[in-house]
Every structure is written in C-alpha cells, then in structure tokens.
C-alpha cells in the first residue's frame, strides 16, 4: 500500500491525522484509554471546562431519539484547576494535541480561563464554546449574536498567547455565515461546527417532557446532513481552518466532511455507541484513502464536484 498523508496543518500545529474527539462525548480522555491508544488520535477535545466546578442540570439529562440523542447535561465539569492537576498530566499531550473546550458566563471569565490555559505547555488549543444550548447564562446566547460572538473571541484571543483558538458555532441561528465571519474578524484561528441542534422529547403516557430541562441538544447521525450543509456554507465564506462536527459515525463520514471543506473532524455521540470507534477510524482512514486514490487530505479538501 502506498503511503498516504493523513496529517493536517492548523497554523503552527501539525495534527497527525484529522480525527479528533468532540467535547462532552469523550470525558477527559482517560475514560477511553482502555479502548485504544489515545496518542494515535489527531487530537482530544475534553469536556467543557469552567473556572469553578459545575454540578450541571438535574436528571433526566439524556434521551435517545431516532438515530440520535438529546442531552441537557448543563456543562457539569470538575473545573479548570482540577483538570490541570488531576487529568492533563496523565494525557499523552506530547504525542497528540489536547484541546480544552471553554465555558464561561462573561467575557471576563473567558479571558481568565484563556490566560490560565495559555500557561500550560500540555495544551495545544482552546475551543471557545459559544453554543451550548443547555445553560441559562452564556453558552448559545453568545453564539447567536455576531457582536457578542466577536467580543468573546477577542477576549480569549488577547490572553491565549500561542494557543490555537477555535470557536465552536451553534446551528441554532438564522445565518451561521454571519457568526462565522464575525469570529474570524475578531481573530479566531479556526472554527468548529456544529454544536447540537435545539430539540425536545415528550412522553404522552405521563404528559411530561422527557428531559427535566425540557429542552436539550440533538446530536448523532440524525444531524449529519445539517452539519454537512453548514460546514459547506462556512467553508465558502471564511478562509480559516474548519473542524467539522455532527453525526460522524463511520470513516466515510470523515472524508465527506473534508470533501465539503473541513480540515479535520470531531467524533461525538458515536463515542457512546462504540468506545473504540475513533481508534478504529484512525486505522481505517488510510485504507479508505488508498482505495479512493487519495494521497493527501490537502488534495481531497474542498474538491466536491458541482455540475
């Protein structure tokens, strides 16, 4: 088999392959160590971290839907300090890129998180979460206004030193291209999309919502067509690296997202379906590329034929 080039260049970062894990679906990474070699991944995006630990929302927090699921976890996390002390040292940060997804309620808090994480050599990049639908303050409220999305991006960028700053966009907007342009103008190094789609589920037998929070975020294969369209659209209006997210469950999906303009992808809910999946995908991708005669991802990216 001739050698194929799986690497992806994001600014000064070089990922060994385009397969990352999506925040909130891969814990702090260590949970998945029994299922494969964490260092073999292109990157690990850990659960959204806030300055202080958060308890999250009351239960039920998750519900299964056709080819997907709704969640309203509410960003339960151990806080940035505990992550740096108890988790990061055990992650293979010298061998793969570790990304921290940031959650805060004000732009000042975002800036503080950014300055703390900027000191950490074990962290390759930050992913700014302006798209969580399950919290009362912050989250998607920042991601639905181009002005606020830009302010948060700027606040993080000012303190992030050499860390690569991704901004994670919500699909729950009128025009995602407007938000994408706003965060690019504010200095983002890249964009990741999409976060979950707002949704709900109800039970006719007890006449109640299935989530205590009433609303949740839809993820899984059900949202892949929406994600593909949005990646395709954003790739055509911004000139920065894009990380595609949304329902990626098979190695073929990785090439689909790169075909429409993504540089890399994050695998989310599929990690629940099969905890070995990302490790299997990393092994399968070069075989699939070889079969399709693709020598490098640069050559494949954005090569969709429209006639």
């Amino acid at each position: 088999m001739s050698k194929v080039d799986l690497s992806v260049k994001l600014g000064h970062l070089r990922l060994k392959n385009p397969i990352l894990t999506a925040s909130g679906t891969f814990g702090y990474g260590l949970e998945f160590a029994p299922f494969g070699d964490l260092a073999s991944l292109g990157g690990i995006v850990v659960k959204g971290l806030s300055l202080k630990p958060r308890q999250g929302n009351p239960c039920p927090r998750i519900v299964e839907t056709p080819c997907g699921m709704l969640n309203a976890i509410g960003l339960q996390n151990i806080g940035v300090e505990a992550f740096l002390k108890d988790k990061l040292p055990y992650l293979p940060w010298s061998k793969t890129s570790i990304w921290v997804n940031l959650y805060a309620q004000t732009k000042e808090e975002f800036a503080e998180l950014s300055s703390i994480l900027a000191q950490e050599p074990g962290i390759a990049g930050l992913e700014v979460n302006i798209s969580c639908p399950n919290v009362k303050q912050g989250g998607v409220l920042f991601g639905q206004s181009p002005r606020m999305a830009a302010q948060v991006t700027e606040a993080v960028k000012k303190k992030s030193k050499d860390k690569f700053v991704l901004v994670k966009l919500s699909p729950n907007v009128t025009d995602i291209k407007e938000i994408a342009k706003a965060v690019v103008d504010a200095g983002a190094d890249g964009i990741s999309l999409i976060n979950t789609l707002g949704g709900m589920a109800v039970d006719i037998y007890c006449k109640r919502p299935k989530l205590k929070n009433v609303f949740g975020g839809l993820s899984g294969p059900a949202i892949k067509p929406v994600a593909l369209k949005m990646v395709y659209e954003v790739a055509r209006c911004v000139d920065l690296p894009i990380i595609g997210i949304g329902g990626i469950s098979r190695v073929e999906d990785v090439l689909e997202f790169i075909l429409v303009g993504a540089w890399a992808v994050q695998v989310g809910s599929a990690n629940f379906t099969n905890p070995s999946l990302v490790f299997e995908m990393v092994k399968e991708l070069p075989q699939l590329m070889h079969r399709l005669g693709i020598k490098s991802l640069d050559e494949w990216r954005n090569s969709l034929i429209l006639e």
């Binding site: 998945f32 080819c67 809910s269």
Partner: protein, 250 residues
C-alpha cells in the same frame, strides 16, 4: 475491562412474559457481583444509538449469562436476537458489591435478582438471607439457580395491598437485621426508595445497586448521574452500587 465481540449462544424466553435469558459466548473475564456490561448488537448500526447496560447474572467457562426484561425499543430488539448473532460487549464495568465479610441480607425486587445470582452461588461462611419480591410467576425468574444453603423467601405482589404488605415486610427485615451485618438491595426505583428510606431510618448498613439510563457506561456522557452528598456522580463509574447513606437522590 475489555471490549469484545460475543456471539449469541442461547436466548431463552420465559413463557409469555417480557423476561428472557441471554447467553453470550466468548466472554473472557472475571467480574465482581454487581458489575455490569454494555451490549450493542452489531446489526443495530445507527439505531438504537446507545448500547444497553445489564448486570452480570453469572459467568461460566466463556459463557456470559444475562437476565433481561423487555422495557423498550432496545430490549425488544435484543429479545429478537438469534443464535450466532454478533454482539459488541464491554466490561465488566462499575464497582460491584463489597466483599461479604459479615452476615448478609439481600433485598431484591423483580429484575433486581439478576446481579445477585453469582453472589448467591459463591461459597461463603456467612449466613445469607434473601427476600425477593416479584410480580410474575416465580418460575419466570432464575429462582432455581439460587442454591439451597441460602435462606430464600419469595413474595408475589399482584395488588396495591400486596405492595403495601411487602413494604412493611421490607421495613421489618431491615429493622431486625440492622445490627447484624450488611444489606444489599437491587430492584425498581420505588422498591429502592423504600429500602433507602428504612435504611436511613434504622441506620442499617445498606448498599443499593442503581439502574439509570446510560449512553456510554464508562463515565463520559454524564447522563446517568446520581445525587450524592458530594454532588452529582456517574452511576456507571462511581456505582452502580452506592452506600445508601451517601445518596440524596437517584
């Protein structure tokens, strides 16, 4: 803990009930009673999305024995598996019950019998008493798998009145046993709530095995959390067995 492809060896439906035994071949590993596995048949592809958690009933040779009730889409599809079907399986997961170093009282309701079968079949020097509440005919449950040295009592509940009487029975059992040893309990939520209540009241040493919806089983999704005195923790990794006194809500 490991992930392996197992194959359906036998699926035994229990008469006209929603209960069935699923025996899978290829399981390589020891486990602690009370631990569980996640199962997902290969043929599911994208739907249902999640694997399903089941406590381990027994394990002999390389056969993994599970006792399952059809409660929804996932378990209904599991009940339609046939011999030779491939099932992805990972485990054993969770903490399991503590070691039996004292006399033991087991309180079990319905499907809550499953995690106790292996424990009851293990030789111990300690006296073990089992109180089992059930709705369907006793012959539908793995009652015969429990050896005779166990002091086992079963109570059938078919009416509101039966349920009330069973609650009083649980209360009396807990109060009479409270200074003698450990109490382990597993069963449906209302059953566990009763055991939790009398456990706290009597200050008996009670361990509850919880059943919560899980998307991953390995601590990542944060969907199965229980509320403890120190906050929300994952049932899959911090449990499923919790000391009752540490639980606030489950």
């Amino acid at each position: 803990m490991q992930r392996k492809t197992l194959f359906v060896y036998e699926l035994k439906k229990q008469q006209d009930t929603p209960l069935f035994h699923l025996i899978l071949k290829g399981w390589p590993q020891r486990f602690i009673p009370g631990q569980f596995v996640m199962l997902r048949p290969r043929a599911w592809e994208f739907d249902p999305l999640w694997p399903r958690p089941f406590s381990i009933c027994t394990w002999e040779g390389d056969l993994l024995h599970l006792f399952i009730q059809v409660v929804g889409r996932g378990t209904a599809r599991l009940s339609a598996l046939t011999k030779g079907d491939a099932v992805e399986c990972w485990g054993p997961l969770g903490n399991g019950f503590p070691e039996v170093s004292k006399p033991l009282l087991i309180l079990s309701g319905g499907m809550g019998i499953a995690p106790f079968i292996s424990l009851l079949r293990t030789k111990t020097n300690q006296p073990v008493r089992l109180i089992f509440g059930h709705r369907l005919d006793l012959s539908c449950y793995p009652w015969e798998m429990i050896p005779d040295h166990v002091d086992k009592r079963s109570f059938c509940q078919q009416s509101e009145q039966d349920l009330k009487e069973f609650e009083l029975r649980l209360r009396d059992e807990i109060w009479q046993f409270k200074d003698k040893g450990l109490i382990f309990a597993c069963g449906p939520r209302p059953f566990l709530e009763v055991v939790h209540k009398y456990g706290l009241e009597s200050q008996a040493k009670v361990y509850l095995s919880l059943e919560n919806k899980m998307a991953c089983g390995i601590g990542a999704c944060l969907g199965c959390v229980a509320k403890t005195k120190t906050g929300f923790v994952q049932t899959c990794t911090h449990g499923p067995v919790f000391e009752a006194a540490t639980l606030e809500e489950f």
